[in-house]
């Protein structure tokens, strides 16, 4: 049996969600590990774009920032934000965007701005950054964050980036061209969205996690099917490749075994 951490599991789930030849917009951290892993395993023709301006990158070393010089190494082009978030993203030329979240609601709407009251917030989070842009226009969105009940809320403290808003048709009405969230990856489970109701639902639980645990750790009614499968474990080949991408354990060191 292979040994792996919860963080490695997340990265591998992220990688599986990328198809060969897709254009992928990845933030730093786990998303880029997932996208890079896809590229060295089943999706060699995936094209990775970073919002700072590096396009179609082949970086050798892992980056701390979406603007990291490491991402300029062997990039096809080094341009700017109007290029990446404007011409490419708003132009409808990106298939998949990876995002994190501090809170999401049952329609996959995202808060990365404020915890508490807007006028006297308990915590000011990083803000939208390119998140709202990516959530608005990427073909589909993959959300990745560690599982915590307080993140799955009935009502967001602040809606930074649009998920499926109030349900079917609401994105289209506002002219948003992206497809919205399609997958949520945590260290405990994967969730997707019902194509009809656009509501989040449990897709699979990671080995060792129960459906009940997930149910208890989501603050809204989670749609759960009869037979929830267990997430496939990372293969030995995937783990080797993944660890090769982060030999110093910058991101991978964080997970639990």
């Amino acid at each position: 049996m292979v040994e792996y951490t919860s963080t490695e599991m997340m990265a591998v789930c992220g990688a599986h969600a990328v198809k060969d030849g897709e254009r992928v917009f990845a933030g730093t951290g786990l998303p880029v590990l997932g996208a890079m892993l896809a590229k060295v395993t089943h999706a060699p023709n995936a094209i990775i774009i970073y919002e700072g301006g590096n396009v179609d990158t082949q970086n050798k070393d892992l980056a701390l920032s979406v603007a990291d010089s490491r991402l300029g190494y062997r990039a096809a082009a080094s341009i700017g934000l109007i290029e990446t978030l404007g011409f490419l993203m708003m132009g409808g030329k990106v298939d998949v965007g990876f995002l994190g979240a501090a809170q999401i609601d049952e329609f996959g709407n995202i808060n990365t701005s404020y915890i508490g009251d807007f006028d006297a917030p308990k915590v000011r989070l990083p803000g939208s950054g390119g998140g709202n842009d990516i959530a608005s226009s990427a073909g589909r969105i993959i959300l990745m964050f560690t599982h915590d009940a307080r993140k799955f809320v009935k009502k967001l403290d602040y809606l930074t980036s649009p998920g499926h808003l109030s349900g079917p048709g609401s994105r289209e009405k506002l002219g948003l061209i992206g497809g919205g969230p399609s997958l949520v990856v945590t260290d405990k489970c994967q969730m997707d969205f019902d194509p009809d109701s656009k509501r989040i639902r449990l897709k699979s639980v990671h080995p060792g996690v129960t459906v009940d645990w997930v149910k208890e750790n989501v603050m809204f009614d989670l749609s759960i099917g009869k037979d929830v499968p267990i997430t496939a474990e990372p293969t030995k080949h995937e783990l080797e490749k993944l660890r090769g991408l982060d030999p110093q354990g910058i991101y991978l060191a964080k997970g639990q075994k």
């Binding site: 050798k60 920032s65 990291d68 300029g72 934000l81 803000g127 939208s128 998140g131 842009d133 002219g175």
Partner: protein
């Protein structure tokens, strides 16, 4: 057959910062870890500037020290944190104290606002931000954004007010004394900022000759026509990075995160790394030639 004439726009960092009046609005260059105006921020702190408003997409340590020193407490930005390391510690405290006001936009929205400023049109259209709380919730502006029905398609379109700030400040790898600028690696929103601001200041890691500029016009990202002042500032983005020249100083950033957990720690950091060193030269001396050499980029990789 035409005689070249080269205007000299060089001034010192101290002189450049002196031009910024209290209450000034500044469009702030750099993006994330890349080419932020760190030396400029530190000099703003030394000169005790107050009541600035900063416009930028995303910035990190540079904005956090300005917030800690209460030089700038108003931000029209998209992102404010220290990527990969955590939330911005001074910001966190100043927010709790109720001192900071934000106008939140997305990264593209800010970049388009600068583009609109550069084009000298009053607004730019965007298909983003709609459906989010950013459109409605406001702390600084009455005219944060307007939603209109597109006169061509009938669909809703968000209009963003353009930014033409009092000052535009960016860091660049190379500039000549006339202000012609070469940028290497990602450009973030710097090209738009310089074109749209009323007075522009370029902090250049290296001053090159006008001859070198004219030998490769394709490499000029910013013609000197837009630039008012050029400041030679080697390691002007330390502790962050400049593509092709030096890498970020990760241990320093980690120490910063640690120290700034408390107000006392921040005050200590500010005294030690910003005030007591006296000026940028003093800072470089404190960092030490050995450490600076370690940070120097491998020319093959650019970091």
């Amino acid at each position: 057959m035409i005689e070249p004439t080269v205007e000299d726009k060089r001034i010192t960092l101290e002189e450049a910062v002196k031009k910024v009046h209290d209450g000034a609005h500044i469009a702030w260059g750099g993006f994330g870890y890349q080419r932020p105006p760190e030396a400029f921020a530190m000099e703003l702190i030394r000169q005790k500037k107050r009541n600035l408003r900063i416009y930028t997409c995303g910035s990190e340590h540079d904005l956090d020290i300005l917030t800690g020193a209460e030089v700038c407490l108003e931000y029209e930005v998209a992102f404010f944190a220290i990527e990969a390391l955590g939330l911005a510690p001074n910001l966190r405290r100043r927010i709790k104290e109720g001192k900071v006001k934000f106008e939140d936009y997305s990264n593209l929205a800010m970049a388009l606002r600068f583009l609109g400023g550069a084009l000298n049109v009053p607004f730019m259209p965007i298909r983003h931000m709609i459906g989010s709380d950013m459109l409605e919730k406001t702390q600084l502006r009455k005219d944060k954004a307007k939603v209109i029905d597109c006169p061509f398609t009938g669909n809703p379109v968000v209009l963003l007010p353009s930014v033409q700030a009092d000052f535009g400040v960016i860091c660049a790898q190379k500039a000549d004394m006339q202000g012609n600028v070469q940028l290497y690696g990602i450009k973030g929103e710097d090209n738009e900022i310089v074109r749209g601001s009323k007075t522009t200041i370029v902090c250049a890691e290296e001053i090159i000759s006008n001859e070198e500029i004219r030998r490769a016009p394709d490499l000029t990202a910013i013609p000197g026509l837009y630039v008012d002042y050029v400041v030679e500032v080697p390691f002007g983005s330390w502790p962050m990075q400049v593509y092709g020249l030096y890498d970020y100083d990760l241990p320093h950033l980690q120490m910063y995160m640690q120290m700034c957990k408390t107000e006392e720690g921040w005050q200590e950091y500010m005294n030690e790394w910003i005030l007591d060193v006296g000026n940028h030269k003093g800072l470089l001396k404190k960092i030490g030639a050995k450490r600076l050499k370690e940070l120097r980029a491998d020319p093959e990789f650019g970091y």
